[in-house]
């Protein structure tokens, strides 16, 4: 029963990494889990070029959404915007390392979706469930922005 709420998840929920706000951010985005209204706000500072130098997130959320974004943001420093956009959903699911039901997928993917939206400066077109709308397709938008 406690597979979903194993120690690593609860630890990241209670003490999320990279929690806060970067005042000198180059990229930022905020979005809502439409299922419940939970919000997260991501701020990203670039290294002068195109790569992530620092990242922070804030907001209210459940154990899954908070832990997912906490784990995710630990991995992103040094990545280019294009690399952010190419991150697959599995990247987050593997970090979480637990089975995520369809109803909780929106919780798990909220942070990744916001990171991608931040990197293109607009909401990333992307279905949370199923194969449709691979987020890497958003790379095409990067050239236009």
């Amino acid at each position: 029963m406690d597979e979903l709420y194993r120690d690593q998840i609860l630890e990241h929920y209670k003490r999320p990494h990279n929690f806060g706000h970067l005042d000198d951010a180059d990229l930022e985005f905020e979005d809502t889990n439409p299922f419940c209204g939970d919000e997260q706000h991501v701020t990203i500072k670039l290294d002068g070029g195109d790569r992530v130098e620092a990242i922070a997130f804030e907001g209210k959320g459940c154990a899954i959404s908070t832990a997912a974004t906490s784990l995710l943001t630990d991995e992103l420093v040094g990545m280019s915007r294009e690399e952010l956009l190419r991150l697959p959903k599995d990247f987050v699911l593997e970090l979480l390392g637990i089975e995520i039901s369809a109803t909780r997928m929106k919780c798990a993917m909220l942070g990744l979706k916001i990171v991608k939206s931040a990197s293109i400066g607009q909401p990333a077109e992307w279905e949370d469930e199923g194969e449709a709308g691979d987020p890497s397709e958003a790379v095409a938008d990067l050239g236009q922005s």
Binding site: L10, C36, G37, D38, K60, C62, A63, I64, C107
Partner: protein
């Protein structure tokens, strides 16, 4: 604590036997379905009525003179009469079948709104409305250039009647208010609201989605002008609801959707429209669902709405008594009393509502977590989500005990 069956004449066992879904197990335990405020389980009589109609009597209504069409029409119009009777409407023509309460409100916002709301006019809503009683008015305000005012609630979750009266002085065209809050369980004093609103020259639309399953209704007593209900919260099917409107008001309204059934005569030069309620029922309606809704209402009427209310109050009061045993639990809405009927929303410090509902589900306890389509209210309460246990005619105090046990477990899982 004694189970409700021991101290009440309410035929709880018989009632539960009338709901096949309650035989379900979830994660190896009998489901404790505490989400009736979102959608109630289906009563067998209604399932069977739909089945009987589909098997033997189906045809289009108001179309042919053949036997099946006549039977379908009789059943559909009979369903309208049942709804009218159940809600204490004076005339069955005042009942318009729609998809749900949301569509009922949209119908008024479009048909009444187009004819009566212009630039600078005001609509008065409350902070405790469901999105279905907010968004249609915001859309109308945008179309017409009208303004929306928000009547505040006090810290207990009751409508602030002083502030409400003050906002009426701005001369709104319409007051749109929920009869019972889907989050707080507050029962608003609808008759008084209607009296004050009418004195200020405003019409009143009430969202009765949560109230209708719990209260005996009488449109005259409530004094409202429009009232919206939905079938699936009344133990009937989805896809069916009803708008009640005062006859002379409905008759003065232009149509909502255009199409078949709602016309008197169509020519190349234009169309004249049917009288109410047909004017608002374009296209083939949800015939089977209307019959299913009426069957559920007859089942409720046989049980008696006084008995239903007493049972619901008992269950809600028991929940309000037991939930505070859980450390760190905060209940939203008024305390036990005359002004509270309906769902109990709460949060537990340190466990998000989503996680509460996920852990409860593993105990076979179904509750809803989220903003409950009431983000204005969530904002007022200073939360983004709550967990909500909502009850029905079949809810037992033993199920509330299981809810409380599950909540203790949720704290344990989160090492609190």
């Amino acid at each position: 604590m004694e189970p409700a069956t021991a101290k009440s004449s309410f035929p709880l066992e018989k009632v539960r036997a009338a709901f096949p879904a309650l035989e379900r197990e979830v994660h190896g335990q009998p489901v404790a379905y505490l989400d009736s405020g979102a959608s109630a389980q289906r009563v067998l009589a209604s399932i069977q009525a739909v089945d009987r109609y589909e098997r033997r009597h189906h045809s289009n209504v108001h179309r042919g003179s053949h036997t099946l069409s006549a039977e379908a029409t009789e059943a559909y119009e009979g369903a309208r009469a049942t709804v009218a009777d159940h809600i204490g409407a004076g005339d069955r023509r005042e009942v318009v079948f729609v998809r749900n309460a949301t569509e009922a409100i949209n119908l008024v916002a479009h048909a009444w709104g187009a004819a009566n709301v212009g630039a600078g006019d005001r609509i008065l809503l409350t902070e405790m409305e469901h999105h279905s009683n907010i968004v249609p008015w915001q859309q109308l305000a945008e179309r017409a250039g009208a303004e929306i005012d928000w009547a505040p609630i006090d810290d207990e979750g009751l409508l602030d009647m002083g502030a409400f009266a003050a906002l009426l002085e701005r001369g709104p065209k319409l007051v749109a208010v929920t009869h019972v809050s889907n989050v707080l369980g507050t029962e608003n004093p609808l008759a008084e609201i209607s009296r004050l609103a009418h004195a200020a020259g405003a019409l009143v639309l009430a969202d009765g989605a949560q109230a209708a399953p719990k209260l005996g209704l009488d449109m005259d007593e409530l004094g409202v002008d429009f009232y919206a209900i939905t079938g699936h919260k009344l133990y009937g099917p989805t896809g069916i609801g009803a708008l009640w409107g005062r006859l002379e008001l409905l008759r003065a309204l232009p149509p909502f959707l255009g199409g078949g059934s709602m016309i008197r005569k169509v020519t190349r030069d234009g169309t004249t429209y049917a009288d109410v309620p047909a004017r608002f029922e374009a296209g083939t309606p949800a015939i089977a669902q209307a019959i299913g809704m009426a069957s559920a209402l007859r089942w409720l009427d046989a049980l008696g709405m006084d008995a239903v209310l007493e049972h619901e109050r008992q269950v809600a009061d028991y929940a309000l008594e037991r939930l505070p045993e859980v450390p760190g639990l905060r209940i939203f809405g008024p305390p036990r009393g005359a002004e509270r009927i309906g769902p109990v929303s709460f949060e537990i410090e340190g466990v998000h509502a989503h996680d509460v509902s996920e852990i409860l589900d593993r105990h076979g306890v179904a509750v809803r977590a989220g903003h409950h389509c009431a983000q204005i209210l969530m904002d007022r309460l200073g939360v983004s989500a709550t967990a909500r246990a909502s009850f029905g005619v079949y809810t037992t105090t033993e199920e509330i005990d299981r809810l409380v046990e599950g909540l203790h477990d949720a704290r344990k899982v989160f090492a609190l």
